[in-house]
Subunit: 411 residues, 2 copies
């Protein structure tokens, strides 16, 4: 999606601000001799930034205003190495709440709703973002924070909460707890604002059914406000994002080239109004695409598709970008295969080859099944894999995250 004149003008405001600052971006822009962007081509020449750059700026190298203007920091969890620290001005805090209130509105939440907030507070951006947006909208925040399922259920019943804010896994846990206790008729939930994790359609439907809610997919990153920069609408076909606060590009993660609308690639975000720590062309490593065309909901805000995973999972084969979740989605349409699979990519006689291993319970024709899967991959993704069907239990299982792609081309 081409950058608009208004967006360019906001980017120029940010560049002017950054050039005055003794910060990571200030140094980088001065070093590159950037003093503004007059056109979309200029913009595309701006350097990307990476999570590593932000981490190297620890603790306060991203701060781009005088410290007196900073009222808060947030931070990514940083299980390994240094966390990223993002400073916020009072206006950043307010802008985030405005965007989050829009998310609730998009999900049909009103001032009469009671919003049970289960994500965590503190350095993490989740809880306080959900709460500030709710309070700005004027709905009633029931600020629970994470864990303590018994207390969550008690408050959900006693307060007659109508909206649940949670990660998809915690929403599912609560849904299953409600089912197990047989208390669904004492639950008044009608909406779910669910975020921070990739979740499948199947999981969404399960959460919706068990809780009796309509679930909305909220998007965001600690580095860019936090959750609340976009959300799905009643059409449930992609995520609207607030293009008056962020400019969003889709790039080829290998070449860095901008991709046309409709093509899958990596989300890159430039913040248009952030003061405390503006980001220029930040590579999120999240995989999505711009959805072309208007949304049936009537919203003028553009849409990206549901996040399909991380670029680290992505491989390029025969010139086509492929990521495991695409294969997963296809395999899910075959009830006769298990949820285990493996992708082997090799380079033989000058050609990339993909072998796809899947498991079946043995009561089907292996060759026929392999042929049908190969055809569906070809029609959906654009090339034909070699499909190998094996007996159930043959593929390796792992307690940890299973390795799905084995790429031996560059070894």
């Amino acid at each position: 999606m081409e950058i608009s004149k208004e967006q360019l003008s906001l980017v120029n405001e940010r560049i002017a601000q950054l050039l005055r600052a003794d910060s990571f971006y200030g140094h980088r822009l001065r070093q590159r001799g950037v003093d503004g962007v007059a056109s979309a081509e200029d913009f595309r020449r701006l350097p990307f930034s990476e999570k590593k750059d932000l981490r190297d700026a620890y603790p306060l190298g991203l701060m781009s205003v005088p410290e007196e203007k900073i009222v808060r920091i947030h931070s990514s969890s940083g299980t390994t190495g240094k966390p990223v620290i993002i400073p916020y001005t009072a206006k950043d805090v307010e802008d985030w709440a405005i965007q989050f209130a829009r998310c609730y509105e998009m999900a049909g939440v009103t001032r009469r709703d009671r919003v049970q907030i289960t994500p965590g507070y503190g350095l993490w951006t989740a809880g306080i973002g959900f709460q500030a947006g709710c309070e700005r909208l004027g709905a009633m925040a029931v600020p629970m924070g994470p864990g303590n399922t018994e207390k969550q259920l008690q408050m959900m019943m006693d307060m007659e909460s109508t909206v649940l804010c949670a990660t998809s896994s915690y929403a599912l846990l609560l849904a299953e707890a409600i089912e197990a206790r047989g208390i669904k008729d004492r639950i008044h939930l009608r909406k779910g604002v669910i975020g921070s994790e990739r979740w499948s359609e199947k999981m969404r439907r399960s959460i919706e059914e068990k809780l009796g809610i309509e679930a909305y997919d909220i998007y965001g990153l600690t580095e860019i406000y936090g959750p609340g920069i976009g959300i799905s609408c009643d059409a449930h076909d992609g995520i609207h994002y607030w293009d008056d606060y962020i400019y969003l590009e889709i790039i080829d993660p290998q070449t860095g080239e901008n991709l046309p609308d409709g093509e899958w690639g990596e989300i890159v975000i430039t913040t248009l109004r952030k003061e405390g720590a503006p980001l220029i062309r930040f590579r999120t490593h999240d995989l999505s695409r711009i959805l072309p065309g208007d949304c049936p909901c009537g919203s003028r805000f553009p849409r990206i598709d549901t996040i399909q995973g991380r670029t680290d999972d992505m491989v390029k084969i025969k010139g086509v970008n492929l990521f495991p979740s695409q294969i997963e989605e296809i395999l899910r349409t075959f009830p006769e295969v298990s949820s285990e699979y493996q992708i082997h990519i090799s380079h033989l006689e000058g050609k990339d080859t993909m072998r796809l291993y899947v498991e079946t319970n043995g009561s089907v024709d292996f060759l026929d099944l392999a042929k049908r899967i190969a055809e569906r991959v070809k029609s959906r993704i654009g090339f034909t894999p070699l499909v190998k069907v094996v007996e159930i239990g043959v593929l390796p299982r792992s307690e940890k995250k299973t390795k799905r792609v084995i790429d031996t081309r560059y070894q």
Copy 2:
């Protein structure tokens, strides 16, 4: 302290509001036929309210505005039985932040400070109150939440935090951890805003020395905004409270009579501006007294003394209200006695008698020590106890809260 005309007028606003509401106080006022207060005598005829009344109103019986105006609830922890739920309007949330910002200002915190916030978030009123006040003042909030001492120390060093917000026990734990690791020269703290628990002068001094800070004592209750309705000043002689937001009385906890300024008794609070859940003459069961006279700091806000415990600990003997912390303070001035003691109160031959058991290490004259303690109690509290000095180790120890007062008069 007599209620002022401005305060009376705000009480009348609250009564008018409550009479329109289908809430606990609305019912009670209508039942009593109260339609306003024209004088201090009228005000003193208003019924008290108790924590039990608030608990009986669970879940939303305190809500005194239409629900659309409520943006948040908070709740007391409620380890036993039902918690108290306090609804807040947007104005209540703002008023709380205004009061909390005043607390930081009273403690000398400025926009250049970095404020590490360790109390918890969620239903509990602590964390988010500390954060909102800090952000309103314009200082930088480092919102940690509770626990994870290693991470707290890391952030304290890396962020060069200058202000610590904590309970007294967690402040002491952090102070001891810093001492044990020998990292005091990497700590930049200069102020502590410490609250939510009774703490002794000795503990305060220990925290101040080990952390190299000046510590301020912040006061508040979940039922009345949360922490932030008062704080000690640089004079460290009592707690200033914001009499434009609350009217504070001291009563005799047994008779309910108002006590003159300077006399110890129970704090009773009426909220003057709270919309979501105004409280009328709420009995806090906290023990303090109004400090007469002007504070050397020059603040016009009135003062209460440091909280001395709970009314449940208080006994009336020979017409004088006595609480164990008064005895503790006196015993602390005798270095030769241990920290263990017991108070026995009995009624013999028509008279109340108090026996005070204390321990010593045995190298002093027992009779002389007993005499000196008895004299000091007489001069500080107003009557002479029978003091019994025993060998160290004779008094019972308990893992749990030690029973200090054994009152056999009404058995």
